[in-house]
């Protein structure tokens, strides 16, 4: 290249392309995405965090929690489990149907231990014809969409994280490291704010092998003047008599934020079936794109 203008042109072409791709395009695709209805309900998702938890997000950002904790759950695939719930009136025909669907289970003992997962298929459309073979003879059957993968198996989440989960976060703290466990659903896993406060003050007091640094700067050690505060931390060893450990506002906000972390609404792009269906009136799965009844 003989001239500087050509260099600038090259740089401009390359950079404007990726700028359009990774800055402009996601803004157009996701930047104004509206709230979505969680599948099978009228609940809008996501909702903005309440005031105290929102302050906690600032503490989370300020302390740099994101350098050790991700907030995103992955999954390898989803499977669809077909659950036989009730035989209905025709046990013989049900056994015959079971023989076709899963020969190993075609025994009378199976019918005694319902409900039971009788077959696992890839997705709901594959499940529908199999389910029909039970419903057509009066049996009661349901299907359950279950995400699979190491993160789900670790109980870090019930489904993968999607863009929608972060719509109201500011700043978005996705995180790309797991030197500590994933926190996308820590509020679902550990809903007790006091647990989080104890854990922040002395991680080893609640998780013996923890490698997390204690965040004692979020707490105040003070002399008990009249009677112990009900807000003081209940710890096995600390503090010495006459003193108590009080969480500061920052600590309580952070704990409120952690408790608020849960992305468990079934969405169109990340389907799964809640273990406890909200409306057990029908035998249709509670919260997936429902198969035929």
């Amino acid at each position: 290249m003989k001239s500087g203008a050509l260099v600038f042109l090259a740089a401009f072409i390359a950079l404007s392309a990726s700028w359009g791709g990774f800055v402009l395009a996601p803004q157009l695709q996701l930047g104004r995405a509206p709230q979505e209805k969680a599948t099978g309900t009228d609940n809008l998702y996501p909702v903005a965090r309440a005031g105290f938890a929102k302050q906690g997000a600032e503490v989370y950002r300020s302390l740099g929690c994101v350098y050790c904790h991700s907030q995103t759950v992955g999954q390898d695939k989803t499977i669809c489990e077909i659950i036989l719930e009730d035989v209905g009136t025709n046990a013989g025909a049900t056994l015959a149907a079971l023989l076709r669907i899963n020969a190993e289970l075609a025994k009378p003992e199976t019918l005694a231990s319902l409900p039971m997962v009788v077959r696992v298929v890839a997705d709901v459309p594959a499940a529908i014809p199999l389910m029909k073979s039970f419903t057509s003879i009066g049996g009661k059957v349901s299907a359950r969409v279950v995400p699979q993968g190491p993160d789900v198996a670790r109980a870090w989440g019930v489904r993968r994280s999607v863009a929608q989960d972060f719509a109201y976060d500011e700043p978005v703290q996705v995180g790309i490291r797991r030197y500590g466990p994933d926190l996308a659903n820590v509020g679902m896993r550990l809903p007790d704010a006091n647990w989080h406060l104890r854990h922040l003050y002395a991680p080893k007091s609640v998780v013996p092998d923890s490698t997390m640094p204690p965040y004692r700067s979020l707490f105040e050690r003070r002399r008990i003047t009249r009677e112990p505060s009900s807000d003081a931390l209940q710890l096995p060893s600390e503090p010495e008599a006459g003193y108590e450990i009080m969480p500061t506002d920052a600590a309580r906000a952070l704990a409120a934020y952690l408790v608020s972390l849960r992305s468990d609404a079934p969405l169109y792009e990340a389907p799964f079936t809640s273990p406890t269906p909200p409306a057990p009136a029908t035998n249709a799965p509670a919260s997936t794109n429902s198969p035929a009844k």
Binding site: G4, V7, F8, A10, A11, F12, A14, L15, A17, S18, W19, G21, F22, V23, P26, Q27, Q29, L30, G31, R32, A33, R61, S62, L63, G64, C65, V66, Y67, C68, T72, P150, R154, R160, S161, V162, A163, Q164, D165, F166, A167, Y168, E170, P171, V172, V174, I176, R177, R178, Y179, G180, P203, D209, S210, T211, M212, P213, P214, Y215, R216, S217
Partner: protein, 453 residues
């Protein structure tokens, strides 16, 4: 000016890096002080390294290259000095803000907006007069290094202004923030550092072995592939973004292997048959830089493969790769350039033994710092994807490589202090020489005056 400040920030960054790293050995250390928590010392390390050291050092070398290759005096050196001072003030403000907890929460862009604005203006000031220097050149034809410097001058204002506008002043919503931040980080670490570092490499290699560059067209090829593919890198595989984005970014990461190998080819072809001993001088630094660039490029390309990134994502692997890119490639190349340039600018030599000591410290330190992290990443990742292994076990699995890595970091700290000593030593002795000269001149006048009276 640029180099002295850069060396200082580099040493300080190592201190913070070491504190951050020690956190994993003794988590309770400094537990009562929020400003020394891992979540603050780690960004202090990364920001001081990139904004404190890499960018001013890269700019300083770039300016010198443009002036030297264009056969021209630097235009308005005092304005560039003002820009450099402003830049260092911006870094100081940003450092204090990070330690005080004012981070933005976006990696590689933690400095809050008031610091970012100072940095942006300072960069513009320096880049503008660097460009003026270039446009006044008397040597018309362009050498490959000049393309790289010019593109780097253009690149940083664009990515930095986009990032601070869309993340700090008018934040976009939701995961668009994350994609913008990753785009910025990819462009900063893979493209900007690549451009500014390779500019020095392409100048130093032929100069040090006293042979012509092999070859011009290979350099052209490396330039184009670096800017075309590098600019799309940065988005990790397992993130809550529409699948096309990580896929595209993975493709770019895979293709990034092309410029990496092109640079290695240039190195091999240029130094082949040269009878210049390496001996721990600038040539050693440059060669090590090229190999690190290639190796970190290969590591980046590996993460494009789904079977591999399934293991390496969310682990120390990426950190190891970044360390190799920033320290192994960029910092080493800058050390070479500074050791080549400073004696020529100030007219005083630097003791070769000290340079050699620095080389060995920096090389062993970098290798010990980066490679155990890469290994740790794989070990940790293999455990992470196996849900039967408890999470704590995944963290404890990497302690041994991590100890090595901390040792490497400590060596680097010593090496960086030596670099600071070398650079400041030369600058101080230059000033002393000037002062002595002025003093001698002045006293000579006095003496002659005294004789007259």
């Amino acid at each position: 000016m640029l180099f002295g400040g850069a060396a200082f920030w580099l040493a300080l960054s190592s201190v913070f890096g070491l504190i951050a790293s020690l956190k994993f050995h003794a988590p309770a250390m400094f537990a009562n002080c929020a400003c020394l928590s891992y979540g603050r010392t780690y960004p202090a390390w990364s920001n001081l390294l990139v904004y404190g050291f890499c960018i001013p050092a890269g700019l300083g070398v770039g300016l010198w290259l443009l002036a030297r290759l264009g056969r021209v005096e630097v235009a308005k050196p005092w304005l560039i000095a003002v820009g450099a001072k402003l830049w260092h003030i911006g870094v100081l403000v940003g450092l204090i803000a990070i330690l005080a907890g004012e981070t933005t929460g976006h990696e590689w862009l933690e400095m809050p907006r008031y610091a970012s604005v100072i940095l942006f203006l300072a960069f513009l000031l320096m880049a503008l007069w660097t460009f003026v220097t270039y446009s006044r050149r008397t040597e018309e034809s362009l050498y490959p290094s000049q393309w790289f410097v010019l593109a780097a001058l253009f690149w940083f204002p664009w990515i930095f202004s986009t990032a601070i506008m869309l993340l700090q002043f008018f934040p976009v919503r939701g995961v668009v923030q994350a994609s913008t931040a990753w785009w910025f980080a990819g462009n900063l670490l893979n493209v900007w550092l690549g451009l500014a570092g390779l500019a020095a490499t392409l100048y130093l290699l032929p100069k040090l072995v006293e042979k012509p560059l092999q070859s011009y067209y290979l350099a052209l090829f490396a330039f184009w592939t670096l800017v075309l593919f590098g600019t799309w890198t940065g988005i990790p595989a397992h993130v809550p973004l529409p699948a096309w984005m990580p896929t595209l970014s993975g493709m770019a990461a895979l293709l990034f292997i092309i410029p990496s190998l092109a640079i290695v080819t240039i190195l091999l072809a240029t130094v082949r048959g040269a009878k210049v001993p390496c001996m721990g001088g600038p040539l050693c630094f440059t060669k090590f830089g090229v190999w690190s660039f290639a190796f970190s490029g290969i590591l980046l390309a590996l993460t494009a493969c789904p079977q591999i990134n399934r293991v390496t994502d969310f682990t120390w692997f990426g950190h190891g790769q970044n360390v190799l890119r920033i320290y192994g490639f960029f910092a080493m190349t800058m050390f070479a350039a500074v050791y080549h340039i400073l004696p020529r600018v100030v007219g005083l030599p630097i003791c070769p033994n000290r340079i050699r000591a620095h080389f060995w410290l920096a090389m062993i330190g970098t290798v010990l710092f980066a490679l155990p992290l890469v290994v740790a990443g794989v070990l940790q990742g293999l455990k992470l994807i196996d849900p039967t292994v408890s999470f704590v076990a995944t963290v404890k699995a990497v302690m041994m490589p991590f100890r090595l890595s901390t040792l490497g970091e400590a060596l680097l700290l010593v090496g960086n202090l030596l670099f600071l000593f070398n650079v400041v030593g030369v600058i101080v002795s230059c000033h002393r020489a000037i002062c002595t000269k002025v003093y001698v001149d002045a006293t000579a006048q006095l003496e002659s005056a005294g004789v007259k009276s």
